[in-house]
Structures are given as C-alpha cells and as structure tokens.
C-alpha cells in the first residue's frame, strides 16, 4: 500500500475524541438509567392480565425489537419535533431515543426472568399465606432482578455500541468526532482504528465481567 | 478368597485409587474380583464412590493408582500420571446411566444401530434386523421410528439397555438406572434386567432398591469410604451383615424401605 501510517494525526487530536467519548458515555449511562427502570415497569405491563395494558406494552416492545435501531433514531430525530412540536438538544434527543430502545430490550429480559421464577415458589408463597403483593415483592422480584443482571449488562453494552448511530443524525459523540477527524486529517485508517479500539476497550471488560457473572450464577 | 481363581476372573480390580482433582479422594485402594456369570450389586452411602467405580470400569475416568483386568487381560492401569485403557476391551463392556443418555436427534432404531455400524462395520440392514428383535423382546417393537422425547422414562431406559446389548457385551454396568423414574415405571425396567440376568449376562450394578438387589444379585458388595467394607452373597450382606458399618447402613436404608 502507498499509504504510510501516521498515528500522530490521531494523538495530536485526542481532545475532540475525548470530548466525543464523554458524550458517548453520557448517552450510554443515561439511556441505561432509563432502560433499567422503565424496562422493569414495561415488563410488568407485558405480563399484566389486562389486555389494555398488555397489548400496547407488547406492541412497544416488538416495534423496537423488530426494526433497525438506525431507523428508530432517524425517525425520532426527524419526526418527534414535527409531531410533538418539541425541540430538544441533540444529546438529550439521543438519550431518549436510545433509552426507549433499551427499555424495550430490557423489558424482554425482565419478562423472561419473571417467567423463569418456578411456579413452585409462588405456590410455596401461597402456602405460607403471603398476599399477592408480598409474593411479587418477596419472591418474584428478587429472583427476577438477580437473574436478569447478565442480560441487562449485555444490553447495556449493546446500547453503548448502538449509541454510535447518533453520529448519523449529527450528535457529536465519539463516532462523529472520529468521522470528522478522519475527513479533516485524511487519516481514516489511524482514526477509525483508534476509535474502534476505544469502543473495544470499554465493551470488552464489561463483556468479560458478564461472562464471569453468568458462570458464577450457573454454578449456584 | 477369590485370589486362588486368578486369571479366570471376568473383572479384577486391584488397589484402585481415584480422585477428582487434588482434594477429592473417592476410591482409596479398592479390590474386587468378579467371576464370569456373577451379578454384583454395589451398595453404599451416597457419595461413597459407587458411580465412580462403575465409570472407572467403563473406562470413562482417569485413575491415580491400581489396575483393572478384564477377561484375564490388562484393561486399565495407572502409569505415572497417565491412565492406559485398552479400548478394544472397553468395547466388550456396556453401560446404562441414570439419565437415559439416548441421542435425542436420532430415532430409536438409529440409536440402536449407530454403534454396531460404526464400531463393527455391520450393515444397516443386518443391524436393523437385530435391533428390531431386541426391541420386540423388550416390548418396544412399535417404537423403532419414534424419537426419544416421545417415550416415557421407562421406555427410554429400556431402549438404553437395548442399545448397549446391540454390541453383545460380555459385561453390563447399570448405575441407578431406575432412580430417575416414576415409581410405576420402575418395574418394567427391572423386569428387563431380570430377564437379562436369567439369560446369564454378567452385570455389575448400583441400586438403592433393596428388593431388586436381593432378586437380581448373586453377590453384594458394600462400599464405603472408598474401599470394600463387606462382600458376600446377598442373603448374608443384606440379611445378616458381619460388619458393623454395613449393619448400620442396611438398618437405616434397607429395613425402612422393605
């Protein structure tokens, strides 16, 4: 190849990349906060006996699970301001869009672990004279939460990676800064490689932690 | 006692040592001699190493010391930290496990004929014919094309026995083959094993069903703490044990159940 590597082009411009990383982390953390909390509420709705609660909740989940995240984000950035006449800052828009997506995926995770709580445990709760609320709070909730932690974390890293999509709608995250830098310096190889490695440096340890957690849980 | 008949023994286990990892010593110098035609039932406390013993004889485990001879030939021995297993001799031994272990992706007939075809190079047609005969003998003639998931536990376990018999083993090992079954299914599996016993098949088995043990065994061995504690005819070991530990165990398990 007639292209000589020059990492200096990237190292001299770490400032913008770090600013971008900071935005990416904000997006990730805030979206996770939304997803972990709203996801649980949504999971309860999808397991509700009332169809008026269950069906819309399920539709919400399926919509986010069955369409590309990029379509969701582009839709959100173009359509929400038009439909609702609201104009939020781009980072905030990104947080809400990613947060809604994660909410749907986490709801699925919670639902699976709620359903995995063995029937016998609920029967035991009835036999012990616990009220329905007590059964949910003391038997279902603790087990469901514990069982869903690995999937929640996996989804959490997933949204960290998906957050790169907001670069397409102009949010100045790590991906966006990388793209800008690559164009400005004519150094795509160095820039994109470094940006990819930054993403990897964060996802990989979390992924390993999840593996460790899953192995530990499957033994107990 | 049996030492004078050296060489004619079917299975001869000498000073067998087996541990899992550095800390769990399971078998600590175990000796058993089994004569052709004998039906040995191994009893003993849970975790005492009964399954481990059968798995060693099946050639499924590494051992740390001692040896096993089969049909008068060296079969398994510990050489340094390696275990040498004669895989040709291993083919003459069949085993049925507690949890069926049928191949779920193969039909019953395919489960039966896989090994004869791959091990002995038997033709499909001939293996099928023998398979059908064995299935019929075990009351499973109509199940040849079913899949394991369509059978009851008792049926699955009978298929597992049939599968092992397809290779004409000279010794059968049964490890608690009825303990995962619903009570009403136990009898049909035990009947098949009794039928085998009557036909003279040598067997070594672990069971917690003392009624069955008494019926099928020609000899009972009580294993505890990784060694043979008592060894003799069923009436004696189960009815009037000499060793205090055997007596205690029998009183706790057997008489309550019987």
């Amino acid at each position: 190849m007639d292209y000589t590597l020059d990492l200096g082009a990237v190292t001299r411009n770490m400032g913008p990349l770090m600013d971008g990383l900071w935005v990416t982390l904000q997006l990730t953390l805030a979206a996770n906060a939304i997803g972990v909390i709203a996801g649980f509420a949504l999971a309860l709705l999808t397991t509700s006996k009332l169809a008026v609660l269950r069906l819309p909740a399920m539709l919400f989940v399926e919509f986010f699970r069955c369409t590309p995240a990029i379509v969701q984000i582009v839709w959100f950035f173009y359509c929400v301001p038009m439909i609702f006449n609201v104009f939020w800052g781009p980072v905030f828009m990104g947080i809400v869009a990613l947060g809604l997506n994660l909410t749907a995926f986490n709801a699925e995770a919670y639902r699976a672990s709620i359903q995995a709580v063995p029937r016998e445990h609920l029967d035991a709760g009835i036999a012990l004279g616990l009220s329905p609320t007590q059964r949910v709070l003391n038997i279902v909730l603790p087990q469901a939460l514990r069982n869903s932690v690995p999937v929640l974390l996996t989804n959490g890293i997933g949204i960290f990676q998906q957050s790169a999509l907001v670069a397409i709608v102009g949010v100045a995250d790590l991906m966006y800064q990388g793209k800008t830098l690559a164009t400005a310096t004519y150094r795509p190889i160095e820039t994109f490689t470094v940006v990819a490695l930054i993403y990897l440096a964060i996802s990989y340890p979390v992924g390993q932690f999840v593996n460790w957690l899953e192995r530990r849980q499957s033994y107990s | 006692m049996a030492d004078m008949r050296d060489g004619s023994a079917l299975v001869e286990i000498r000073d067998l040592h087996k541990s899992y990892g550095p800390n769990i010593q399971v078998l600590k110098g175990l000796n058993i001699q089994m004569m052709p035609g004998e039906r040995v039932v191994v009893i003993g406390p849970s975790g005492g190493g009964k399954s481990t013993l059968l798995r060693v004889v099946m050639g499924l485990e590494q051992i740390q010391g001692g040896s096993v001879r089969f049909g008068g030939k060296p079969y398994i021995s510990a050489k340094g930290d390696k275990t040498v297993i004669d895989t040709e001799l291993r083919k003459q031994i069949g085993m049925v496990f507690q949890h069926y272990t049928l191949f779920p992706h193969l039909s019953i007939m395919e489960n039966l004929i896989l090994a004869p075809r791959k091990v002995h190079g038997e033709s499909r047609a001939s293996a099928r014919e023998r398979g059908q005969k064995i299935l019929e003998r075990f009351g499973l003639g109509a199940k040849a094309d079913a899949y394991p998931s369509q059978l009851s536990g008792g049926q699955k376990q009978r298929v597992a026995i049939a599968r092992a018999l397809m290779l004409d083993p000279k010794l059968m090992l049964f490890d608690e083959v009825t303990s995962a079954l619903d009570p009403e299914l136990v009898a049909e599996v035990e009947a098949v094993i009794l039928q085998l016993a009557e036909s003279g098949m040598p067997m070594m088995m672990v069971t917690h069903d003392m009624w069955f043990a008494r019926n099928v065994a020609s000899r009972v061995i009580f294993c505890a703490g990784g060694v043979v504690v008592e060894d003799g005819p069923p009436e004696q070991v189960l009815g009037d044990p000499r060793e205090e530990r055997t007596r205690e165990f029998i009183n706790r398990v057997f008489h309550i159940k019987a």
Binding site: P68, Q161, L165, T193 | H99, Y100, T101, F103, Y147, R163
Partner: protein
C-alpha cells in the same frame, strides 16, 4: 399537533422502495449464508484448533463483537481499499463487512451450542465404543447444529436490522432510499414510518418463528 398526514404520497415511490428492499434482502441473505458458514468454521476451530489459531480467531471475534457495526462498515469502506490498494463496489464492501460481523456472532452461537451438548452424551459415546470420528460427526455436531438453530435465526434477524447501517456509507438499500424520499418530499413522518413498518413486517414473523422453533427443539432435547 397541527399537521395532517398523507400516506398516499408514498404510492409515487413504490418502485424505488421495492428496489431498496430488494437490495436489503439480497445483501442480508448473502451475508447470512456466507457469515454463518464462516461462523461455523471459526466456532469449530475455536473449540479445537491449536492455541495460536484459537488466540487469533478469538481476537477477531472480540474485535467484531466489541465495536459498533457502524465503525466496522466505515473501516471496511474507507480503510480496506487504502490498505489493499483496490477499490471495491459498495455491494462488495458491504458484503465483506456484514459477513465478517455475522461470522463473529454466529461463531459464538456455534461455540455455545457445542458446549451445550452434555458430558453424558460423550460418556454414552465412549460406553458404546464409538470411534472419535463417529462421536463428532454422528452425535456431537448434529446436536450442536440443531441446538444452534434458534439463536442462528435471531442472529439472522439481527443482521437484517444491522444491514440498514449500509445506508450511512451510501449504499442504496431500503433505509437509504427511504431517507432520500423523506428529504425530497419533506414528509419524514409518513415515509420513515412506512420504512420502519416494512422492516417490522419482515422481522416480526421471524422473531416469532424463533420462539416456536426454540420450544420445538426444547421439547426434543428434554430427552
């Protein structure tokens, strides 16, 4: 909201959308086939193979699983031609990128399903005296592949969705054409909603199928 929706505008663009969808489907199917094959080979090599091979393949898998697909696309589109000194068409670049991505995720699927074939199955093989080749070809691999099917299906659905990213590197797939129409007509709500609906109509039945297949297999393997 003070705006009226007019979905009839989309009727003018059915041909363009169909063309985009065709590109999306062609790309997805091709990468599913290539990527799954790659994943199978890598899964096997990572489960056996020698330490160096295992290490290198592990690096590849973690690289593609640990970074955004978008940056993988950028890398293949903009960096690979510079390194190799050859130009690829958009379709070829997209195929390379998504195949490598699919290979990485399906190799993990195959590896997990290989591991999930229980130790008792191996014991049964040994007790039956099966030769090593028969153990692998007749017992372990068929079960592993069957067990992998539900996850492979959802990997395929994921790939279908991820394929929309190629719009960001200028490939005229469904998403790209949708965005173009949306910009030209200034009717993003109608156009993008319909685009989302098209993706949904394809992905939803497939995710249902995953559940059905999963339950069928579960019943089979409860033996």
């Amino acid at each position: 909201m003070g705006m009226t929706l007019d979905f009839s505008i989309l009727l003018l663009f059915t041909d363009a959308l169909a063309l985009g969808l065709w590109t999306t489907l062609r790309l997805t199917l091709l990468c599913i086939v290539l990527g799954t094959t790659l994943g199978f080979v890598i899964g096997l090599l990572r489960s056996s193979g020698n330490a160096v091979v295992r290490g290198l393949l592990g690096l590849y898998v973690e690289l593609f699983r640990g970074t955004p697909v978008l940056i993988q696309l950028f890398w293949i589109f903009f960096c690979l031609p510079l390194i190799l000194g050859v130009e690829f068409s958009n379709f070829v670049s997209a195929t390379i990128a998504l195949t490598l991505y699919m290979g990485a995720i399906t190799s993990e699927t195959f590896r997990a399903s290989l591991r999930s074939v229980g130790r008792e199955q191996m014991d049964a093989c040994v007790a039956l005296g099966l030769p090593r080749r028969a153990q692998i070809v007749n017992v372990i691999l068929p079960q592993a592949v069957l067990r992998a099917v539900p996850t492979l299906l959802s990997n395929a659905v994921s790939l279908f969705k991820e394929s929309a990213l190629v719009s960001a590197v200028g490939m005229a797939d469904l998403m790209f054409i949708g965005q173009n129409i949306s910009n030209n007509t200034a009717r993003p709500v109608e156009v993008l909603t319909v685009v989302a609906a098209i993706y949904f109509v394809i992905a939803f039945p497939l995710t249902r199928a995953v559940t059905v297949v999963e339950q069928k297999l579960l019943r089979k393997f409860s033996a």
